[in-house]
Symmetry: C2
Subunit: 197 residues, 2 copies
């Protein structure tokens, strides 16, 4: 059976983005440094960089997809330009319906208004026997963790301290995991946890 994983860049103090995220600064103050390991040091972190988008389908929260709130009164098509790196279906969690947005290179954004379990069922159907990535952000990942729907966490721990922002594991407790791998990479320590049910 395919794995439902989340592949996340996180600060040493547990934040997936810095404070005050905005259209101009989507990762929040200091948040870009979380991604140095693959944006600037991809050659030194080849396997982990390639694995970020190695899935048959993706699920993300609306905040990760873009800064537009409320109704889709703007033709927002994601942060990633005309050819996003996903090359497959991306299910965006939202309260506001919207027709699918087809991008170059095989990425299609689908908008799901009936919750995370529905999004996961649609992603499973689309992914076939490939894995499913819960891409982010923190709120979405924490919802999947709380619901017991995640099999694996792949964390890239950047050697920085953000102090505030969007926190992985917020609101959770009692989660039982097993560390299955770790590697000291350039600008990140790569850690994998299997989530116990």
């Amino acid at each position: 059976m395919s794995t439902v994983y989340s592949n996340l860049s996180v600060s040493a103090d547990g934040f997936l983005a810095g404070p005050r995220q905005s259209r101009e600064n989507p990762l929040g103050e200091g948040g870009l440094a979380l991604h140095e390991w693959h944006l600037e040091r991809a050659a030194d972190n080849r396997a982990e960089t390639d694995a970020i988008v190695d899935a048959g389908a993706f699920i993300m929260g609306r905040n990760m997809f873009g800064p537009v709130r409320g109704e889709w009164d703007e033709d927002w098509r994601g942060w990633w330009g005309e050819e996003p790196p996903y090359h497959g279906p991306v299910f965006v969690l939202t309260h506001f319906p919207r027709e699918p947005v087809v991008m170059a290179g095989g990425t299609t954004f689908h908008f799901v208004t009936d919750g995370i379990e529905s999004a996961l069922a649609q992603a499973r159907a689309a992914a076939g026997d490939r894995d499913i990535s819960i891409a982010g952000g923190a709120s979405t990942v924490n919802q999947f963790l709380a619901a017991g729907l995640l099999d694996e966490l792949r964390l890239h721990i950047a050697p920085i301290v953000l102090g505030e922002g969007e926190r992985l594991f917020a609101g959770l407790r009692g989660l039982d995991m097993e560390g299955t791998s770790s590697r000291t990479g350039a600008r990140a320590i790569h850690v994998t946890y299997r989530i116990r049910r």
Copy 2:
């Protein structure tokens, strides 16, 4: 020159102890599970277990030393019985003076009332060319980090989520570190950071 390090068991969400620490439950609710890797699986984590007390002198906060508050109106001699595992001088940060307490096996608790820099100077003098351990708890370690007095963090990340408690890195930001090692152990992933000045 000797290294000033802190060797800490931490939850995946960054806590060094669970909530509601007390005399009956010194590690707080759920906090004991942080230490499974060396309390129950020492044979599988031999090098890391032995390294916990490999220092020429130790510094700890009063909360780590014991539950007594205010004046030393009780003959509290630590949580560790008659022969504590330190086998060397331990400098306890407190606002209330007290005569040194000599224990079996070479451990002596000294009480320092004039702050962390004084404690570090005394620990350096006592340790000679051996390393100095900032043993905890969170408040003490965070003070040393904020003051730029720590060279190395040795974290043992337990695969649990506590949700609340005493948080490593609380109140800090902008700390720049470098991950220097990692190993997947039994019930902990062992990670070392060098702190950049």
